[in-house]
């Protein structure tokens, strides 16, 4: 049994690389997902994933398949969209979600246009974004660095960020940290998405950020508890997904995300904090 779990990683270096990459991503992204969920911005991850496309495309056109150019381009584009949406939300009648939707759609269309303009039409998602099984050294270093930066920055802005989640009015009135915290957080979101895309593919980036966070909601109530359970869930999903992909021959990215999805469904049912089954049990107890 133990042998079956370790053998693929001992025999193949691509499996070890995939595992390390997924674990690094699982360390950086789920905490961001927890805060996205608490701030009711869960869908923003998906929107931003489209927004970074033109930047990645321009990076690709200028420098070819250079991880650095494509990541930097994607980061710049994602940040531009996030900031523009924030700016419009603050200076016009439009809410942030509406302006974000508008900007990411424009950005996505621009990205498709830029790539098509080159005449070549290699499948975008295959070329612009990585796959779990093809992590090279540069991609691993990128993912690990971004996870490190992300955790460090999160530690620094942790207190104002938690306040902003639960009592934004108070933070705004008591301190000037509200806007800087918000924008630093946006930077972290974009950073983590870019790292996930470049190394592991679209599905992985958004999926590993949000699914563990939402599942964690059923296992913990305070923010630190949420973060720990989200990271734990992401670790478990990565390892299980890789093994499922290895033994049952299914594509790796979808396997990992589906396992995280199963964790989520199981959590809905049996989670200790508000799981559906626990809601049923006491009533039965009373009837008896």
């Amino acid at each position: 049994m133990i042998d079956a779990l370790t053998q693929p990683f001992i025999e193949f270096s691509f499996m070890r690389r995939a595992l390390v990459g997924c674990l690094a991503l699982s360390l950086g992204a789920p905490p961001i997902g927890v805060f996205l969920m608490l701030r009711r911005m869960s869908l923003m991850g998906d929107a931003m994933s489209h927004a970074i496309l033109p930047g990645v495309a321009i990076g690709y056109l200028l420098a070819g398949l250079s991880l650095f150019a494509m990541s930097f381009g994607g980061f710049a584009a994602g940040l531009a969209v996030a900031l523009a949406a924030g700016l419009v939300a603050r200076s016009t009648v439009l809410r942030e979600d509406a302006s974000l939707a508008a900007f990411y759609l424009v950005s996505l269309a621009l990205g498709v246009l830029i790539v098509s303009a080159r005449g070549s039409n290699i499948d975008l998602l295959h070329v612009l974004f990585g796959t779990v099984l093809a992590l090279d050294d540069a991609a691993l270093i990128l993912v690990a660095s971004i996870a490190t930066i992300s955790l460090a920055v999160l530690a620094v802005i942790y207190r104002p960020l938690v306040l902003e989640c639960f009592d934004p009015q108070f933070l705004r009135s008591a301190s000037a940290l509200s806007s800087p915290t918000h924008f630093t957080f946006l930077v972290l979101v974009v950073l983590n998405l870019v790292s996930g895309f470049q190394a592991l593919g679209t599905l992985m980036a958004v999926g590993i950020m949000l699914l563990p966070a939402v599942a964690a909601r059923f296992w913990a109530e305070d923010v630190s508890g949420l973060i720990v359970s989200a990271v734990g869930c992401a670790f478990a999903a990565s390892l299980t997904g890789l093994l499922v992909s290895y033994y049952w021959s299914v594509p790796t990215g979808p396997a990992i995300i589906l396992i995280a999805g199963i964790f989520y469904l199981v959590s809905i049912l049996v989670g200790v904090k508000g799981g559906l089954l626990w809601g049923l049990l006491p009533r039965r107890h009373l009837e008896a």
Binding site: F14, R17, N121, L133, D136, S249
Partner: protein, 302 residues
Amino acid sequence: MKSRLVASLGLALVLLFGISAHAQAADKVKAVASFSILGDMVRQVGGDRVDVTTLVGPDGDAHVYEPTPADAKNLAASAILFTNGLGFEGWMDRLEKSSGFTGKVVVASTGVKPRTMVEEEGAKEETITDPHAWQSLANGKLYVANIRDGLIAVDPAGKAVYEANAAKYLDEIAKEEEAVKAALAKLPEARKKIITSHDAFGYFGAAYELEIIAPEGVSTESEASAQDVAKIIRQIKAENIPAVFMENITDYRLLDQIASETGAKIGGELYTDALSPADGPAPTYLDMFRHNIETLTAALSA
């Protein structure tokens, strides 16, 4: 407010129509070919009498192409459409219908004996037709004959020209086929195994006795599983497969990883589903074979 609305609508219309006007070459047979390799073959047979538009251009991936309005316009204005068939251009049916195309459709692979392959999708096995028939020059001859007959049907006046062009082209293809067989015959038997990224060399391998292994299936749309990659790595190690090859249309990162894990060397870039631009190493069908054979023999004989 209202006048501003009218003015901006007017401006938008001017912009739209301004870019749609363009000149057309008169009195040539207008033909459309679905992808660059087929386009080149039609050009060789049609010569000066035919004006060929290619939908999926050089270095493009026809498995997953998204047609543009210009494609529909070109198709509607043309007399004849050449497709590969065998399920290669999944998007073609919809384009044909939506463009209102009324001309003749020639499926270039007609008469080819299709290769089917069993693809494992998890537990269930699926039989899939391999569309990459042009990768065998014997099939290429069938393509040329089909193209010739199609062109004669829509432009009977040019019959003599098409027949002469086709005969000359068939001759060149036959010569190239001899050259390919001769070049590959020189390779030692144990080294006639290669890895490519998607399964495009089935016909090539069958015709010229080369064993081909690919992590992706016959279409570039599928994604490799960890098991697929692990199997290939084991196979490379067990059978001492000397080289892996990139394709001009697919992602090379996975192969890169496989190569670095097994110590197989990267043999170079092969052209499979699309030609290179005119200044590249494989601007025509026959150049593509010359380039691929050169790349293969250089890597496998070393």
